[in-house]
């Protein structure tokens, strides 16, 4: 009689402890996933700002450098890809493509002294480089959130439950090799 009661109490306590653990785990996973989403919107805002500057930039450059059609096309194409990108991975790819296209555009601009001296162009260039810095910082924040979220759903025992609750890994927002090299160079210069 007493032993049975004890067994029941132990089982009840165990069930409660496990239920509490699952409850806590679920909430913390939801919280982490929201943080990833929230920090993604931080990147997204900057990507949108960047792509909204492009038409203006292209128009400005066109005014001086009329014969560089290919360059303009590449930039416009990359912008369209960026605007239609749905997830982190494709957005990162499109953004890297746009970075490359802009690099050629600015290289071309070097050949047009009048364009380089134009106030509008300098303003746009400054704004773009500011946005690029912001993207880099937003990426740092996003990636650190993704790292902690992905770790949380993969460690034991969370891994046993995360999948069945529908928590899947998030993608990192990665920079191109070129961009990483750029950062290194700019450090050495300073």
């Amino acid at each position: 009689m007493n032993a049975a009661l004890l067994a029941i109490i132990i089982i009840v306590v165990l069930v409660i402890v496990i239920a509490l653990f699952i409850w806590g785990l679920y909430n913390s996973l939801v919280r982490s996933r929201m943080q990833v989403k929230e920090s993604w919107s931080g990147i997204d805002v900057q990507l949108k700002r960047r792509s909204s500057l492009i038409p203006n930039l292209v128009e400005t450059v066109k005014g001086y450098a009329t014969h560089e059609r290919e360059v303009f096309e590449n930039v416009t194409k990359a912008r369209a890809a960026l605007m239609s990108a749905g997830d982190a991975k494709s957005a990162a790819e499109a953004n890297n493509q746009l970075t490359g296209a802009l690099k050629t555009l600015f290289a071309v601009a070097e050949n047009y002294p009048q364009l380089k001296a134009s106030e509008n162009f300098m303003q746009l260039q400054k704004e773009l480089s500011d946005i690029e810095a912001k993207i880099a910082f937003a990426r740092q924040f996003y990636n650190s959130n993704v790292l902690s979220y992905n770790t949380k759903i993969q460690v034991f025992p969370n891994v046993l439950l995360a999948r069945s609750f529908g928590f899947t890994q998030s993608e990192f927002f990665t920079a191109t090799e070129e961009e990483k090299a750029d950062v290194k160079v700019s450090f050495e210069k300073k």
């Binding site: 943080q35 810095a133 912001k134 910082f137 300073k190």
Partner: protein, 283 residues
């Protein structure tokens, strides 16, 4: 921190008891202390900024500074604090406020002139870490409570010297001895409490500086920037005119450049700069 609040409450209570007023006076003193703490807590950041003669800057007035702050905020996922500039050629900076939503970061114009962008980023990241780690709230509370203890202790000392002479005669015989004992304890407490409170403030402050250094470096991913900034700031011999004993612990490095001695080390609000730089370089 909780211990500290209990400690302050106990000192308040003891002082009230010693003043001969029993529990009712104690409660009254506690209520007044509570009002004092609440008001100071909510107005301390504007008081500090007022004392330091800081002036708010918007994005268009100084876009470079604003962008550095904004970018680092994006990197750590916190709201952009208000930015103030102190018109002083001594390079220094501090953060104040209650939480990341009500935070302010202040830099001197000397800091903006003397540091390059990477060094400025290091300093700003250090200050933002103070905000993110809620050090600003902690320091605000500590300052308010230390101020309260000092105020009450001062009050108590004056009261005992000038007002207590005739009190024992008004009382019964048995109470006289107990009252005198409490009086002595309270007197000792009144002398020791400000010193103890001060030491607690220093200990909290120094530990927090190392923490902010390392979390700042994590944010910029470039500890060398802050290390170089600290070198520059400490090499600068100019004292900050608007800083005083009450606000010194807020700054990134001690703004009152005193002579060095072991006592200075014990009572310093900041860990030695060399040690901070060494730890940053070791990252």
């Amino acid at each position: 921190m909780v211990l500290f609040v209990v400690f302050v409450a106990a000192v308040v209570e003891l002082i009230a008891l010693a003043l001969g007023g029993g529990y009712i006076a104690g409660i009254i003193v506690l209520i007044f202390a509570g009002i004092f703490v609440t008001i100071s807590y909510y107005s301390s950041s504007s008081m500090v900024l007022g004392i330091s003669q800081a002036r708010e800057v918007k994005h268009d007035e100084n876009p470079d500074l604003y962008n550095v702050v904004e970018n680092l905020c994006i990197g750590s996922g916190m709201p952009v604090p208000k930015i103030y500039i102190i018109n002083d050629t001594a390079p220094n900076a501090f953060a104040t406020g209650r939480d990341p939503q009500h935070a302010t970061i202040a830099v001197t114009s000397g800091l903006l002139q003397k540091l390059d962008k990477l060094e400025l980023e290091g300093v700003i990241a250090h200050e933002l870490s103070h905000i993110k780690n809620y050090d600003i709230r902690l320091m605000t509370l500590v300052v308010v409570l230390v101020g309260l203890v000092a105020l009450l202790a001062d009050f108590m000392l004056r009261f005992t010297f000038f007002g207590s002479g005739r009190r024992p005669s008004n009382r019964g015989r048995g109470e006289g001895l107990g009252g005198a004992l409490i009086l002595i304890i309270a007197l000792v407490a009144a002398i020791l409490a400000p010193i103890a409170a001060q030491l607690i403030k220093l200990a909290i402050s120094r530990g927090r500086e190392y923490l902010a250094d390392s979390s700042g470096a994590l944010l910029t991913r470039y500890p060398e920037g802050l290390a170089r900034a600290l070198e520059k700031i400490s090499a600068d011999k100019e004292p900050l005119e608007v800083a005083n004993k009450a606000t010194e612990h807020l700054y990134i490095t001690n703004p009152l450049k005193g002579h060095k001695s072991w006592a200075n080390n014990l009572f310093s609000t900041h860990p030695p700069i060399d040690e901070r730089i060494r730890r940053l370089r070791a990252m």
